[in-house]
């Protein structure tokens, strides 16, 4: 890419808005996923009896089953949330930057 184009983009305030918004959002979402996952795996490591508690009195289904499936579904939902915001906010900013500099 030519240097002047890089500078034009770099000095565009919308570029900074895009970078800071997207990076912040991406790292927050990553941390959320990590926290969910490590909460799950560390509960398994430290408190097995809790995961094996019956879901309701007399049930065979344990608390661990909806939690495990919940982690799987949360991964899908988090990617969905990211896509929504990326389509609505980041892509729009990106388009505007391209229109202004190209």
């Amino acid at each position: 890419m030519q240097q002047d184009l890089v500078h034009a983009i770099k000095s565009n305030p919308k570029y900074h808005e895009l970078v800071s918004k997207r990076s912040r959002f991406a790292w927050i979402m990553s941390v959320v996923m990590l926290v969910i996952y490590y909460a799950f795996i560390l509960t398994i490591a430290f408190d097995k009896p809790f995961m094996a508690t019956p879901l309701w009195s007399g049930s065979v289904t344990t608390v661990g089953i909806p939690i495990g499936i919940g982690v799987i579904i949360s991964a899908f939902i988090l990617t969905g949330i990211y896509i929504r915001r990326a389509n609505a906010v980041f892509d729009k900013l990106n388009r505007e930057i391209k229109e202004e500099v190209l």
Binding site: M1, Q3, L5, V6, I9, K10, Y15, L18, V19, R22, F25, A26, W27, M29, S30, M33, L34, I36, Y37, Y38, F40, I41, L42, I44, A45, F46, K48, P49, M51, A52, S59, V60, T61, T62, G64, I65, G68, I69, V71, I72, I73, A75, F76, L78, T79, G80, Y82, I83, A86, N87, D91, N94, I97, K98, V101, L102
Partner: protein, 559 residues
């Protein structure tokens, strides 16, 4: 090219005839199943269809971009299915359902770990990969750094991961086919090897992707039928999971431990380390990273991850249902029993899903699932072989030996030769490792991917002060420490080499080797005051602009 085109139909005929012959002959040996006619018919239909696709793809595969990246014309939805297909390997289809069948809840822990890597890939690297890369992930780590050493490192790490992964798949393929089709192990491995060479050399990424997509659809359909069929039968027609779990506990003579976590994760450090290897190892697998270059832009790359996460998550929930369904429907049924095998069922625990298909849908469903399981291996091995061949041709040959002065046709020719060589290596390794314990390969593959590939990939995107020296120090240290720690760890040192207590107490060394890699990159970079380092800091600005906006990206839409 014309040679390939002329040779293709002949090879196709030879192969179909050869596999039919091999299936008919040599059925006397022990431990092989009776010939399952529906399975063989459906398998041959699949092979014929995929070879048809390969022929179609061969006529559309002309340039290097076609060969490595399917011309960049795969949509996000299709790519999501293909990625999910790479993930739904025979190891996860048969392995996880078998693990649930054997240990109940513990089987879920692996699947959750593999899945949660996906959102992280999406948030931190998917779009950036598409914006910076061309054909292989080495394109990104060599973007602003010195080409020769960085490509060498990236290609070495990629090849190690590909070959380790290949061994597991080939051995799995051989054993699976032996059990399912009553075919000799060696023949089975050779047939797989020949088929993948055909798919990849003739059809490149386009054929590899479509084989993967078709297989993903077949596998999702098959797994859905078995899982819900099993739930229906195991819950006496009520479709209530609670009823199925209750009957599973009953089948295990009141053993409630299958409903909660067991022995798999006991030590918190092992838990953290396993999690790191599964999550970030995924983000360092070359055959998965390569899929991000087959879509036209970052938006499609993002969509692929969304669809892939959905399909993979759904698939893992199915394997969970299958495992519990198998406990109910296989335990205590003499037609599936084999007291000498692991788990007490025919073919051992890994055949739980296959036996279950017979319990749910009789011989026809068994045949379908057997064919799909074989197709799964073919598709995954093709993707791996293509990734390995690209590392050889695009990174080592074109960029290291020829210093970038090579024409496209020559590079594609080299990658086709590399494919043939890798296919032969895969066959030989498959035969050599037939009777070996390969359990450690999973730990090793994911630890190397998480410790060598992932750190330099992530840091080259986000760390502007990284230099070639830092990347090389961190990358090599990560690669070496992960390998050494797996060798002196419990699986290899104690169980395989039987040298007594392991020198390193954890099966998954990722928590140490990843830390070493990141520290190596950081310290190596801040200590680097060379002229080259200054240029690399400056080059980060341009890289970051392209990475963030996609302006200047390969195959980006023109405005």
């Amino acid at each position: 090219m014309s040679f390939w085109k002329r040779a293709f139909p002949t090879l196709l005929l030879m192969l179909v005839a050869g596999s039919a012959l091999a299936a008919g002959g040599d059925l006397g040996a022990v431990k092989k199943a009776e010939v399952n006619i529906p399975a063989i018919v459906m398998f041959l239909v699949f092979v014929a269809a995929t070879l048809g696709i390969t022929y179609w793809a061969a006529q559309r595969t002309k340039t290097a971009k076609d060969f490595y990246a399917a011309g960049g014309g795969i949509t996000g939805f299709q790519n999501g299915l293909a990625i999910a297909g790479d993930y739904m390997s025979a190891a996860s289809f048969l392995g996880i359902s078998g693990l649930v069948f054997l240990n109940g809840y513990d089987g879920v822990i692996f699947s959750v770990g593999w899945l949660v890597g996906w959102p992280i890939i999406m948030f931190l690297i998917a779009e950036q990969l598409r914006n910076l890369g061309k054909y292989t992930y080495a394109d990104i780590v060599a973007y602003r750094f010195e080409r020769v050493p960085m490509r060498t490192l990236a290609a070495t790490a990629a090849l190690i991961v590909v070959i380790l992964y290949l061994i597991g798949q080939m051995v799995g393929a051989g054993k699976l086919i032996q059990v399912l089709f009553g075919l000799d192990y060696t023949y089975a491995v050779i047939i797989v090897g020949i088929l993948i060479i055909l798919y990849v050399t003739f059809g490149g990424m386009l054929a590899t992707t479509w084989v993967q997509i078709i297989k993903a659809c077949l596998l999702l359909a098959g797994a859905t039928i078995i899982a819900f069929g099993a739930l229906y039968l195991a819950s006496d027609g009520s479709m209530s999971p609670e009823r199925m779990f209750a009957k599973a506990v009953e089948a295990r003579k009141g053993d409630l431990s299958i409903m909660g976590p067991g022995k798999l994760v006991s030590d918190p450090i092992e838990a953290i380390s396993l999690g790191l290897a599964l999550m970030f190892g995924t983000a360092g697998l070359p055959h998965i990273l390569m899929r991000f270059f087959t879509v036209s832009n970052a938006i499609e790359a993002r969509k692929s991850v969304f669809y892939a996460t959905g399909w993979i998550g759904y698939f893992y929930i199915l394997t969970f249902l299958m495992g519990f369904g198998a406990i109910v429907l296989l335990t205590g049924h003499p037609e599936f029993a084999d007291p000498s095998a692991v788990g007490g069922i025919k073919g051992g625990q890994n055949m739980a899903a296959v036996n279950l298909s017979a319990a749910v849908g009789g011989n026809l469903l068994l045949g379908f699932i057997s064919a799909v399981a074989f197709a799964t291996i073919l598709a995954v091995v093709s993707g791996l072989t293509l990734a390995g061949a690209s590392a050889i041709s695009h990174d080592l040959y074109a960029n290291v030996f020829a210093h970038g002065n090579v024409d496209e046709q020559q590079e594609v020719r080299v990658s086709k030769m590399a494919t043939v060589v890798l296919g032969i290596i895969a066959i030989l390794l498959g035969i050599a490792f037939e009777k070996q314990n390969i359990a450690y390969l999973v730990a090793l593959t994911f630890s190397v991917a998480a410790s060598a590939n992932f750190p330099i990939l992530l840091m080259s995107i986000y760390y502007g002060k990284m230099t070639t020296r830092g990347a090389l120090i961190g990358g090599w240290l990560g690669l070496i420490s992960a390998t050494v720690l797996v060798i002196v760890g419990p699986t290899v040192w104690k169980e395989i080499l039987q040298l007594g207590d392991p020198l390193f107490g954890y099966k998954y060394p990722a928590f140490i080797s990843m830390t070493i890699a990141f520290l190596g990159i950081w310290i190596g970079s801040i200590m680097d005051n060379s002229e080259r380092a200054k240029k690399e800091h400056e080059a980060f600005i341009a890289q970051d602009v392209r990475c963030q906006t996609g302006i200047g990206a390969e195959g980006a839409a023109s405005h």
